[in-house]
Symmetry: C3
Subunit: 326 residues, 3 copies
């Protein structure tokens, strides 16, 4: 196999290197580096780590070039450049296509060539598994499901009936896509009658769904996640939500049913958004913030954090707050 | 098979129809309708959708009858009526009874006739799976478990030893019922000694448990969920909780150990209830609200939401709040 | 088998008993007791249960001795003593070593003698499963994983590649250890490029991880959980966190990436800790509290709970709070 040189990597990341011919064979942090690895430097607080690193090449900003003794590649955004370099090394490890005999594939389900399907997976009937899909183990896929080219399903994932997953998506362990939405109508005697949840979930391309995250199927129409959306672990997305392109949602967030979230939003960890709201494009919601009304002003940031205090100060403040309600 | 007419459906939902002989073969939303579907109308904001719908019949309120061009059924509560109609159509699709050969059933475990048990399920010893139970795939059921008639377990569910599940319950993907409660006693040197969790979980009839929800087994006595309780996704119920009939709990809620929740309560999404509390009947807790004391006044509503603001306004307010603690 | 007497149990828990020769064969609560069980009493509100208990022996404090009619063991901390007694009874039930034929063990993976591995588990290549490890069913273990002696994995757990789990750990149902951290760098056109997550997770000895909890693998270096840490259900731990010895974390907590938590901390349920912070030793964080800055003063308690109110009082207070931001 051809050597990977600093020149070759500089081309990939649009950088300028100190020396074209340095051979690199892996990537690392500043600390866990070895003498054939490439790493990056972006935070001057880590200057000691930079000085001590064993890495052969360091990706850094123009203004940090003088700090480096040894070879470098200069770029505008070292973190982004490093992610591309790492991606390049990772993509060289391609999986070997195979279907484990201890996996059940339903009737009329088509598995394209180039897929890996591990043990103890169950795929329903009339489904389509496209090229280069990777399904780890203990995954359950329902009937009439489509999984797009190059998508990856980690262990213990559940994909409900009729769900459509686009290309190059990654669904992490234990996520559940297409579980019934939470819809009930109350009888006169207080009992809750289930509203059948007969919509589905449509996930477009390049979407990541975190571990143990749940995305409900629509009540009648579909729940929709547009291309480029990234969702972290332990997130709940209610039925009939619509999340538009490139919005990023951190861990432990909850989005109640029928809420529409615009493009390029950033939802902080543990934020909660009530149902039937509209969130405009490019909105930032701070962590732990509960949104109770629609947000129609794009490019704005909203917050609702109770500031933390030493417990005895909090007791004082809480007393005063309670008085305001009287 | 006999035709389903508007007359027949009117009988089921106690409604009055414009025309007895309209034949219907499925249900839909106003928007996704086709010319043999039934749908419902209840919100005048959707008047445009009503005008454009292709649905053959629309369920609506008496006062909205004039808005509809085409056939209708008039009822008091169109949403409730629609849920019954949908349920009627769904129940016509009954599953075929079978046990997949790639499933492990333990010693002395009895599976009644009429069950469906899919692949890669593991059922322990001395358990009882009653009539018409549906177990999808990759489900783990412990020893000495009872699953009541007509209950349904979705993929990747875990049911611990000794758990008792009633009739017509539905446990959604990835839920874990009967995991050990979180009980430790601290040694003099700071180490935590586990308190064995030897109680179990008893779930009565018609209970729904959402995807990736966790319900802990009791420390010594049982955790109890009474009939008709509906629990959404990503909920945590601690050991020895008691949740009474027809209480409904939205997603991302946490209930700490030994708390007793009355009948007909409504717990909003992401609300948190501390341990060892008593919540009376018919209490409403707003979303995102933390309850730190017992609530003894029935039929009341409690809230503790920090109102959200534009970030720069929040900064001002937070400074003033912090001063109140000094 | 030798009888278990109150004398023998008194030795284990450093207690003094009313009668050396009482034979006991199980443990129970005050209420669910029978005439050969041992139980404990520590809360005078339960005096009625103490009077009515059928238990043969009650563990209690010196000052409560007079309240008991029947045999007792006196100790300093009855709850701690009871946990040791229960542990003693539970450890007598040792599992029988076996590997289910319906489990897949990868190439070059070593399983030590004395393990139990149930059905439908998948273990990757080059992994090490040490003595007396218990793996229930539907568990997925990646490549290059080590599971330490005596550790126990419940159903539907996922362990990612390269994860190291110490001795006597317990991982509850549906937990996911070593899922990719949430790291993306944004392109000029708004698309998110994944930062490869090539660190792993190192879990030391005697760690418990709750049901459906997720612990992310490090971006480059490892996520580390030190010995004696206990984590409840539905918790999210971000990439590159470091949680030091004997810290205890209740349910529904989120810890964002790269945060360092000291020894002996107590993190209340649903608390949230932002990323890149340092939390000193022996800090207590109240339930539902969001921590947004490093906490450097050990042995302190921090709180940020909005006090709950009747809804109409809250409306008044919220209006006043909003004014403070203007």
């Amino acid at each position: 196999m051809e050597d990977i040189t600093s020149e070759k990597l500089s081309l990939i990341i649009d950088g300028k290197c100190s020396n074209n011919d340095v051979v690199i064979d892996n990537f690392s942090s500043l600390k866990s580096s070895n003498n054939s690895s490439i790493t990056f430097f972006t935070d001057r607080k880590l200057i000691d780590d930079l000085r001590k690193t064993k890495a052969k090449v360091v990706i850094l900003k123009h203004e940090d070039r003088e700090l480096r003794i040894g070879d470098w590649i200069v770029v505008d955004d070292p973190y982004l450049a490093f992610s591309k370099v790492a991606d390049f090394f990772l993509k060289k490890n391609v999986f070997k296509s195979s279907i484990d005999p201890n996996t059940k594939i339903g009737i009329n389900t088509k598995v394209s060539p180039g897929c890996y399907i591990g043990p103890f997976n169950s795929v329903g009937n009339n489904s389509i598994i496209n090229h280069r899909v990777f399904i780890h183990s203990n995954v359950s896929i329902g009937n009439n499901v489509t999984i797009g080219e190059g998508s990856k399903l980690h262990p213990n994932v559940t994909i409900g009936d009729d769900v459509l997953i686009g290309k190059n998506c990654e669904i992490f362990a234990g996520a559940s896509i297409g579980t019934d939405g939470f819809g009930y109508a109350q009888d006169a005697d207080g009992a809750w009658n289930k509203i059948p949840q007969i919509g589905s979930v449509v996930i477009h391309n390049n979407v990541d769904i975190g571990s143990n995250t749940t995305i409900d199927r629509g009540a009648i129409d579909n729940t929709i996640i547009k291309s480029g959306v990234k969702i972290d672990n332990q997130v709940q997305v209610g039925h009939n939500c619509y999340i538009d392109e490139n919005t990023i949602i951190a861990g432990c967030v909850g989005v109640a049913g029928s809420t529409i979230i615009g493009k390029n939003c950033k939802i902080g960890g543990a934020a909660m958004i009530l149902g039937h709201l509209e969130i405009s494009d490019s909105i930032t919601i701070s962590p732990g913030t509960m949104i109770t009304k629609s947000l129609k002003k794009s490019n704005n940031k909203y917050t609702a954090i109770m500031p933390f205090m030493e417990h005895k100060e909090w007791l004082k403040m809480a007393t005063k707050l309670k008085e305001k309600g009287k």
